[in-house]
Amino acid sequence: MTLLVGLPGQGMHLGIDPLSGLFLCLLAPLVLACAIVGPSRSVAFWVFVLGTAAAVLAADAFTLILGFGLMSAAAWFLALHGGWRAMLLVAAALFCGFCLVGAMYLPPSYAAFLLLLLGVGAMSCLALVRFQPPPDGLPAPVAALLSGGILTVSLYVLIRYVFVVFGAVGAAWWGGVLLAAGAAAMLFGAARAVLQTEIEALLAGAAVAQLGSIAAALGIALWAKAMGNPALATLAVQAALLGGVGQALFTPLLWLGAGAVREATGTTSLDWLGGLMRGMPKLGLLMLFGASGIAALPLGPGFPALFLLLHAVIAGAAGGGLWAALGFGVLLAALGFAVALLQAAALRLIGIGFLGRPRSLRAAAAEEADRRTLIGIGFLAALCLPLALLPGLLLAALRPVVALLVPGAPALPLPYAPLPIAVLMLAVAGAAWFGLQRYGARGEREAPAWNGGFGKPPIWLPFGDPQTQPSGSGFAAPVRAVLGWFAMPHAAPSKRAALSIPAPRRMLRWRARLHRAAEGHRLALAFGVFVVALLALRLGQGN
C-alpha cells in the first residue's frame, strides 16, 4: 500500500506479511491492557502507538525510521523532565538512531549487521534502564507501554532485517555473535534480577534475560540457516517466536502489577513489602502466574520457549562438528545457570514480596488494586493461557511466520504437551484432597505461627518483629556470595596490589585468592581453562 505523503516522489509504503502481522498482534494486547489500566488523554500516548504501528507495518526504510522517530519523540515527550539525564538520553537515542539509519541504508553486509545489533541492543537497554522503574510523574501503565512497545519493535526490526532483508547474505559467524551476546545478556540479566531489591529493577533484569534468550535462539537459527540445517533453524526460530510472544504478554503483566503494588503501598522495594497476598489476593495470583513465566516452569507461559531453546542447543550439539558441539555444551551450561537464577528471582519476588509477614505498615494496609487494573492485567494473563497450555496450537498458527524466516522449514511436532500434565497433576492433587477429606482429620485450627518456638508476638508488634524474617537482600545474600564480583562488576579487586609483590609470593597470594574466591569465580576459572586448553588444541590441530 502506498501513501502519498512521505519522501518526495516516493511516498510511503506500508505492507503486512505474517511477521508484521504477528508483531501487530503482540502490540495490540499491550496497548489495550495499558489503556484499560491507565486511560491516557495525552496525545503523545497515541502518537507512540501510531509510531509502533508505523514501524511494524513499514515496507520501506523511510517509513520504519519515521515510525521510530514518532515513538522516540512521544516517549521523550511523555517521560522527560529536563536535567542532565535527559541530555544523556537524547545522546543515547541519537546513537541508536544513528546505528539504525546506518544499518538500513548500508548495503547488506556484516557492517550493517553489526550496526543493527548495536542499535537494537542500545534501544532495548535504554527502554529498560529509562522506563523501569518509571521516572517521576510517569504512571506505570504508560511506562509499561513505552518499555514494552520499544522492546517489541526492536525485536521486530532485528528479526525483519537479519532474517528477511539480509537473509541472503547471512554468514554463520553472525549467528555466533548474536548467540554470544544473547547468552551474556541472559547471565547478566538473571544475576541482576536475583539481586535487585526494587520489583521493577528485578523485572527489568528478567526482561534482559528473556531478550537474551530470544537473541540466543535467533543466533542458533542464523547459524543453522547458514550451515544449511533448516530443521535446527526451524526449532530455534520457533523458540525465538514463542519467547517473543511470552515477552510481549507476561512482562507487561508484571510491570503493570508492580505499578499496582506501588500505588497500594508507595514502594516496590522487597525490603519494605511482604504479606501482600493477604491484602491483594487477586493481584497476587496474577503476579504468581506472571512469575511462573519468568521462572520458565512447566505449565507456565515461559516454559515452551525455554523447552524449544534447550532442545535447539542439544540438537545443535548433536548435529554440528566437534568444536560447534563444545560451544553448544558451554552454552547449555550457561543457559542452565541463567535459568536457575531466574527461578530464584521469581521465587524471591513472590516469596518475599507477596508471602510472609508485612515489613511495613503501608504493606500491611495494602488494599486490592482497582477493577480497571485487575481487568487489564487479567486480560494479559488470559492471553498467556494458550501459550502456557496449548503451545502446539500456537506453533501451528505461527507456521507462516516460520516459513517466512526459514524457507523450506519442515513441520516439527512439539514434544511437550502441558495439557495432559496439567490434567494429571490436577487429578493427583484432587485425589489427595478427597482422600484426606474422607479419611483424615476434618478442618484445621488457627493459631499464631510457631516461629521456632517464639510463639505469638507482643501486642506492639502486630506482625511480629520484621527483623526476624528474611528480607529481600537477606534472601539474595547467599547467591551474592556465590556470584562474587560477577554480581557487582564495579567491585573488582584492584590489580595494583597483587602486582607489587614479588613473584613467588604473588603465586602464593593467587593461591590464597583462589581459595577464598567465590564459587562462581572458580567455576568460571575452570571453564576458562577448559576453553583455552581446547582452543590451544584446536590451533595445534590446525597446524
Binding site: A344, P415, Q469, F475
Partner: protein
C-alpha cells in the same frame, strides 16, 4: 491396540508400586542405617505409620498465612507424582513415554521445589526463610550440571526422552564409558542435593538452624505436613528409579511384552534396594559439608558434566 492397553496397564502397575512403595524405600533405608550404626531402629513400616498419624491429626494453620498456605502442599506432590509417571521404573514404553522429555522432567521437579520454597516463605519466619535461601542456593548449579548430563545422555542414547535415552543405552552405545561414568557422578551429586541428603543436608537432622530441606515445612502440621513428607519420599524413589533406568538399564522390561515384566520388576527391586543401601553407606561414611561448600560440590558436578561432554565428543572425533 493391545500394545496401548499393555502400556496403560504397565503405567498403572508402575504408579501403584511407586506411590505405595516410596515410604517403604525410606523405611528400609532408615532401618539399615540404624543397624549399621548399632541401633535397633524403627520398623521398616514406620514411614507409613508416621504418615497415618499425621493424617489423623488436625492441622494447625498459622494465623498470618495466606490463602495459598493450603495450596502448596498439594502442588508439590502433584508435580513430583507427574514426574514419577514419566520416569521409567521396571519397563520402557509406558503410556507417558512420548511425553517423558528430560527437560519437562527437570521442570516438574522444579515445580515441586518451588512449591516447597514458597511454603517455607509462607509465614515469614526465620528458619523457613533461611532454609528457602539455602535451597535456592543449592539449585543454582544443579540445573546446569543436569542439563550437561542431558546433553551427554542425548548424544549417547540418541534421544531426549527418558524412555528414548534408556532404550538407546540398553541397546549399547558407541561412546566412551568414561563419559557415562562422569555423567553418573554429576547426576549423583545433583540427586543428593535435591533430596536433601549428605553432603548437602542431613535428612535426620533435628536442629532448625542447620536444616535445609526440613526447615521449609516447619510451619506445617497434620495432613499438610504428611503431603510434604510423602512428596520427599516419592522424590527419592523417582531419582533412584531414574538413575537405575538411565545408567543401569539392564533387565528393564518392555511394556509390550508381558513375559519380560517379572524380570523387570525383580531388577527394579534389586536396583532400588542396592541404591538405597549405597546411599545409607555413603551417608554413614561421609559427613555433611558446610553450607557454603555445597555450591562447590555442585559446581564440581557441573564441571564433571562438561568433562563428560568433552570426553564424549573427543572420543567420537578420534573415532571418526
Amino acid at each position: 491396540m493391545l500394545g496401548l492397553a499393555l502400556g496403560l496397564l504397565a503405567t498403572i502397575l508402575h504408579a501403584a508400586l511407586m506411590f505405595a512403595g516410596a515410604p517403604l524405600l525410606v523405611g528400609a533405608a532408615e532401618k539399615l542405617r540404624a543397624r549399621l550404626l548399632g541401633r535397633r531402629g524403627a520398623a521398616v513400616m514406620q514411614p507409613y505409620r508416621t504418615l497415618l498419624k499425621l493424617i489423623a491429626k488436625v492441622p494447625v494453620v498459622p494465623d498470618n498465612a495466606s490463602e495459598l498456605y493450603q495450596v502448596w502442599p498439594f502442588v508439590c506432590p502433584a508435580a513430583i507424582a507427574a514426574a514419577a509417571l514419566l520416569t521409567p521404573g521396571f519397563c520402557f514404553g509406558m503410556a507417558g513415554a512420548g511425553q517423558s522429555d528430560f527437560i519437562t522432567f527437570i521442570g516438574l521437579l522444579g515445580i515441586g521445589r518451588a512449591a516447597t520454597v514458597l511454603a517455607g516463605l509462607e509465614t515469614g519466619f526465620g528458619f523457613g526463610g533461611a532454609g528457602a535461601g539455602r535451597a535456592v542456593l543449592f539449585s543454582l548449579f544443579g540445573e546446569a550440571a543436569l542439563l550437561l548430563v542431558v546433553l551427554t545422555l542425548a548424544l549417547l542414547g540418541h534421544g531426549v526422552t527418558l524412555d528414548g535415552i534408556g532404550m538407546g543405552l540398553r541397546r549399547g552405545h558407541s561412546g566412551a564409558p568414561i563419559s557415562l561414568g562422569l555423567a553418573l557422578l554429576a547426576v549423583l551429586a545433583v540427586a543428593l542435593a535435591e533430596n536433601g541428603r549428605a553432603p548437602a543436608d542431613d535428612p535426620a537432622g533435628r536442629q532448625e538452624l542447620a536444616m535445609v530441606q526440613n526447615a521449609l515445612p516447619l510451619e506445617y502440621s497434620g495432613r499438610f505436613l504428611a503431603l510434604f513428607e510423602y512428596a520427599a519420599m516419592l522424590r527419592l524413589a523417582v531419582w533412584l528409579s531414574l538413575i537405575g533406568a538411565l545408567f543401569l538399564p539392564f533387565g528393564m522390561a518392555d511394556a509390550g511384552m508381558v513375559l519380560t515384566w517379572p524380570l523387570g520388576l525383580l531388577s527394579w527391586l534389586i536396583k532400588l534396594a542396592g541404591f538405597a543401601g549405597a546411599l545409607v553407606l555413603f551417608e554413614i561414611f561421609v559427613g555433611r559439608v558446610r553450607i557454603f561448600q555445597v555450591p562447590a560440590v555442585l559446581a564440581g558436578a557441573t564441571l564433571l558434566g562438561f568433562l563428560a561432554v568433552v570426553f564424549l565428543l573427543v572420543s567420537r572425533g578420534l573415532g571418526a
